[in-house]
Subunit: 523 residues, 2 copies
């Protein structure tokens, strides 16, 4: 018998593996039936032009897997014990594979959610996207030194499970910083090292929410948080935001299972929650038994004024869970952040984290602990704070040069500002389209990783501009191009011609329309 | 009926809010019981001297929150189906309100679960704990070289977000290995890099489970999986295991939202699921629309026979989700594993992973991709496979020397064996106590990170022995001490004296009792 097998010597799979796979398929497909005698290894080797050993090894493996049975000198047979219904199932399977219809019937999955927009790797030439860092400010030298020396002291750390809550040295270093910088006095026990704020949202959801629980959340809110809580089938109750941060008066009287808030720097508007509102917020949380999830994502970058103590630092009732991250200050590629829980939640929070993933990779934790312990982190922060402050100044200056007395918010801190468009400028989404045609990425609320529940005062006429990843020359050029785009659109609307448009041709024909008349460019 | 409600017109809370809160409290306090009819809005408005609208709005909100139920013209009633968290809140609230102490009143947390036992850092002198590696077999030299060179090519990788599903180079390297080693032919798209199997359980739970969904699971099962699915409020349906692995005939006819199974090497018993059962299992999954979660945690360590193709490699209906890990082969300190999903689940699985944590740390992923790409991994595996095989042989030999023809299972693969105690030996839990007194850690089912649903054939007379972390001398000494412990207990029971007991004094007075008579030590 010649078995319908052909081997490809150029395949990246070994001859033995190919042979094994093909015999297996022939058995499952019914071409080789139970009880059939297989060709001898010698005969098959000759047929296929391979060494006898190749066939023997393939037969041996098929034997171990139960497809073939060798009866000493009698020969090798297709196993009798492959029940018919299995084979029928397999034949059906093969039919399905080869059939023209691919109707695959699957139980509906339970997950109903959407993933937040994360910063992608395709960027326009001048991209003011939020959340991006400048790779040149990464402390490469110090980090490489730390990683190398940490690794040389690894001992059993790579081959054993660590504390799921995180490396004690790192939690201690974080606790040591939280007192002086954020007014939060905690034990390392209360700290759980996480992959970033996103994992923190998850931990709080698993800790606090059941299906249908209510989650009060800022409007607009950070998309990653909104989508996450939504995916746990929570009922989101949006609470408005104004220039003093969350509108505490608009909080639901009944409280909620959880309130998500960004007090240091409202995301994405950049407002700081006033102290008076902080106190009233804490009072509300206490009265209504609501846990507050305080996302302090950007607290390391404050350029003007002194930092306001974190909500958790003001709280004496154990209502606040605090989230911090090193994604902004060092880099998101480390995937390191931390959750701080009130004492009575330490046990459950540790359990949730252990159930989640048994803890974080050791090397990054150990290196970061070293980085925090030796002032390297504070020095690094000072350096990049200076750098980002200059970029922010450059951005605001450039906007003023081209658009007059612009109104911005969130310039005291952080890595982006919100530009409130004056009445004569196009609407935010129109401006975004115009700018894109000039190679500039700018972001209205909806595309700024923000979730707009509707009815938000900043949906239409606010543009977000991240400045951390661009140098001053790029910032100036980018703003100049936005101005050129506006001018071009205005001329098109007025059927005129713009000298600036000549100099900087749009990438594609400008077909944007906008409702508000464009204001003549002044610069 | 006059409801005991009084509103304060001078309060800073609206009349409506006060009414809402008081009715809620009366319900939670039990004064208004489920099923009770509420006064009509007109009657209550008259009683309280407020507008009917105030009452209507408060009722409406209480209805939306699930406290009240309006049945058209029939009337408004206290809801029969008050959710659990209300009742839990009520209990807590009552304790807090009535307690004289400073019991801080907090909303009950939603999380109800327990965390798996992870390998701790306190070990007896001779510890046969499962899941431990020998830190000496970690490929330090190669890893340090890779980490250093990877870091020097970091570019923007540390300062930008990567693909939440994982580094493409790593996913490609994993996909390239899965074909030849496990018979799984997939695109890198189908692979999601995870923190380890534990995160994989979470992803599958988020993907497939809603509260009350049924999860079929091996009995005994890996504790981390059992506790995880339980924490999502799934109904666990244990399915017995015998020496051919999962008893496929015992699977629920109705299927399940998910079946968790360890086919290569049943955890913790070490049985390999036979091919015939694999095919029938897949047929069951297809018929019942059940997703199979195949945990292949130990597949890299097979000492005898050739590997059986993974379930996912045999599946042509997209029913199988596959989990692999590098915690066994390299080290749990890396926190790296992978999930492989059928094509139709790629989108949702990526979304779930993004919502989880935006992906894994870059450095470990990039270093591991390099390790996999250059045969370093295969060489490493060959080296440690040899080492572990020798340790396993040493363990089985030592057991035979001291206990005669012992019965073990799971010796063909993996890093631990199951020792089935002969009738004359003590019960597993008694033996554990005896051995502990001689400085030896051995593990009955319940303390072997396994979940025993009860009624399991291996609960009483099986001991798990992990051998990967001990060298041959330690293994021999450990087994000798177990034998000495048994002998001592027997002599104590027989009021005799043991020479061996003299030589190796127990750490604490032996006070263990056991039901089966100890068998004289032969070695």
């Amino acid at each position: 018998m010649e078995t319908p097998i052909s081997l490809d010597p150029c395949s990246r799979h070994s001859l033995q593996a190919q042979l094994h796979e093909q015999v297996r398929k022939l058995i499952l497909g019914g071409q080789l039936r139970p009880g059939m005698r297989m060709p001898t290894s010698r005969a098959l080797a000759m047929q296929l032009g391979v060494s006898r050993n190749t066939v023997l090894l393939a037969y041996e493996r098929l034997g171990a897997e139960g497809y073939l049975q060798t009866r000493g000198a009698v020969g090798t047979f297709v196993n009798h014990d492959l029940p018919d219904d299995c084979l029928a199932a397999r034949r059906l399977a093969l039919v399905a594979e080869n059939g023209s219809q691919h109707i695959s019937r699957h139980r509906a999955i339970a997950f109903e959610g959407r993933a937040q927009t994360i910063v992608g790797d395709k960027h326009p030439a001048y991209d003011f996207q939020l959340g991006r860092l400048d790779s040149h400010v990464f402390p490469f030298k110090a980090w490489r030194r730390l990683v190398t020396s940490t690794l040389s002291r690894a001992g059993a750390c790579l081959t054993e499970y660590g504390d799921p809550a995180g490396l004690l040295a790192l939690r201690q270093a974080i606790a040591d910083r939280l007192g002086p910088t954020r007014g939060i006095n905690v034990d390392p026990d209360q700290i759980i090292v996480i992959t970033g704020c996103q994992e923190g949202f998850n931990l709080t959801a698993r800790l606090l929410l059941r299906e249908g629980a209510s989650v009060a959340i800022e409007n607009p809110a950070y998309q990653g948080a909104a989508y996450l809580y939504e995916s746990y089938r929570a009922r989101l109750a949006p609470v408005a935001v104004d220039d003093k941060g969350l509108c505490v008066d608009a909080l639901p009287d009944a409280g909620a299972a959880l309130l998500y808030v960004t007090p240091s720097r409202q995301y994405p508007m950049g407002f700081t929650l006033s102290l008076e509102r902080r106190l009233r917020l804490l009072d509300w949380a206490r009265r209504t038994d609501t846990y507050i999830v305080e996302d302090d994502y950007d607290s390391d970058f404050r350029y003007r004024g002194s930092p306001i103590a974190a909500l958790m630092g003001l709280d004496s009732h154990g209502c606040v869970i605090y989230l911090g991250t090193f994604s902004r200050s060092i880099g998101p590629g480390l995937r390191l952040g931390y959750l701080v829980v009130p004492k009575h939640l330490v046990g459950p929070a540790r359990q949730v984290k252990a159930l989640f993933d048994n803890g974080h990779a050791w090397l990054e934790q150990a290196a970061l602990a070293g980085f925090l312990a030796h002032d390297s982190y504070e020095n690094h922060l000072r350096r990049i704070r200076q750098c980002y402050a200059e970029r922010r100044d450059c951005l605001v200056d450039s906007l003023r040069r081209h658009f007059g007395e612009v109104t911005v918010s969130g310039a005291e801190a952080g890595m982006h500002i919100a530009w409130h468009l004056a009445g004569e400028l196009p609407r935010a989404t129109d401006l975004q389209i115009m700018a894109a045609q000039y190679g500039v990425g700018i972001y209205p609320l909806k595309s700024a990783a923000a979730f707009d529940f509707g009815g938000c005062a900043y949906s239409e006429r606010t543009i977000m501009l991240g400045f951390a990843a661009l140098d001053e020359q790029q910032i100036r050029a980018g703003v100049e191009r936005i101005a050129a785009a506006v001018e071009a659109a205005q001329r098109t609307a007025g059927r005129g011609r713009a000298s600036r448009t000549e100099r900087m041709r749009p990438r594609s024909p400008a077909n944007a329309t906008f409702r508000a008349a464009a204001r003549p460019v002044t610069g």
